[in-house]
Amino acid sequence: MSTVASPMTAPDVAPPPAIRFRDSQIEMAHGAGGRASRRLIEGLVAPLLGGPLLAPLTDAAVVEVNGGRLAMTADSFVVRPLRFPGGSIGDLAVNGTVNDLAVSGATAVALLVTLVLEAGLPTSVLEDELRAIAEAARRAGVPVVGGDTKVVEHGKADGMYVTTAGIGAIEPGVRLCASAVRPGDRVLLSGPIGDHGITILLARGDVDLEADLRSDTRSVYPMVRALMQRIGDGVHWMRDPTRGGVASALNELAADARLGVVLFEDALPVRDAVRGACELLGLDPLHIANEGQFLAVVAPERAEEALEAVRDAPGGEGAMLVGEVRAEPARTVLAASAYGSARVVDMLVGDPLPRIC
């Protein structure tokens, strides 16, 4: 998820930006996609870079050009290891940006790819990633039209970093935003959660766990397109729940829409191995990153149709209706159990850390 503030026409005299970010240094948590990330963006980045302070922070910015609307987004990828079951940094970089555009209701038109390479990186590794980028772009049907390459000293980067920027065309009539969401709307999730985050955690080897898991990195565009074509204005909001997981994406929705979201715990699709790893490590699958899923909030009367549309699309077989929007408790995400209780699902605080207690 790249967080870009929607643009606003600049007033003649800019008011002094209200800096609310008080942390004395940048920590890993500021990049983990949870509460700390949001605070950094809202408290420091957005005020200084001109975005209105309270503007909804979305996956892509929407700009009007000659009467048409374009979605713009950029995303940087730093992942260790560079290759992991189911994908690599190259796949992530393309799919991540294509997905940010897709959930903004846009069809990707062109990509820019920027590489930061660490001196000493084997050419074969770079070549593999360039092939992965090309293949992912081909599959997503979007051309790479330019970019940049920089090299930094050995030890100053973790092999390679990739930044992609994308531009997409938004169909007329598409209006996706938190303010379009109404109580009673249903929450649709495209498939099982946590595959990517747990795959990476295992691939790092720190916890010494093995499982037959693969990252879910893929373009969600075919599913999103099927949904939009079938339901159109019945879709009110979409988001790809990457870092911070489903919990953080829905908490952002709840905060932006000033509404509550209730998830039905039994309806959440989670693969056995993801669940097993989460139970072992004391993690919540709702906090784990995904790279090939999306959440959609749809009008209740179109919900079944929406589910059918996504399930019929390639890769959407595992889609589920997982929750609904409520007026109360506002700004809160709850997970309701099958036995009549409900817990609060908070945003991710910091990085998801395995625990023993």
Binding site: V207, D208, E210, R271, A273, R275, G276, C357
Partner: protein, 101 residues
């Protein structure tokens, strides 16, 4: 105060008698079994143990688990609850062992 989870022994590590591979819902890890291997009966493939910080802490008793389920079902002597109980069998025929995890 301690996160511990049941896992099934799927392999003993050759040449390292203090280690076994356990599986939790399709996730495998080597764990230390020193705390259980001196006490009879000997650990066997398919046994369930409780795992904490990479150590097998305790064997999980099938008979005790079944007794607990029976007591729970009896709390209301609800017909539905008794049916739920019928659905749980902790002893598994070896042939089905793989799919149960």
């Amino acid at each position: 105060m301690c996160l511990a989870i049941p896992g099934k022994i799927v392999e003993f590590v050759v040449g390292q008698p203090h280690l076994a591979v356990i599986e939790v819902s399709g996730v495998r890890r080597r764990v230390n079994i020193d705390l259980l291997r001196d006490e009879p009966p000997a650990l066997a493939i398919g046994d369930w143990v409780l795992i904490h910080v990479g150590f097998a802490m305790s064997r999980i008793g099938v008979a005790e688990a079944e007794e607990q389920m029976r007591l729970l079902a009896m709390l209301g002597e609800d017909r539905l609850a008794m049916e739920e109980l019928e659905g749980y069998r902790f002893t598994e025929p070896p042939a089905r062992a793989e799919e149960i995890a």
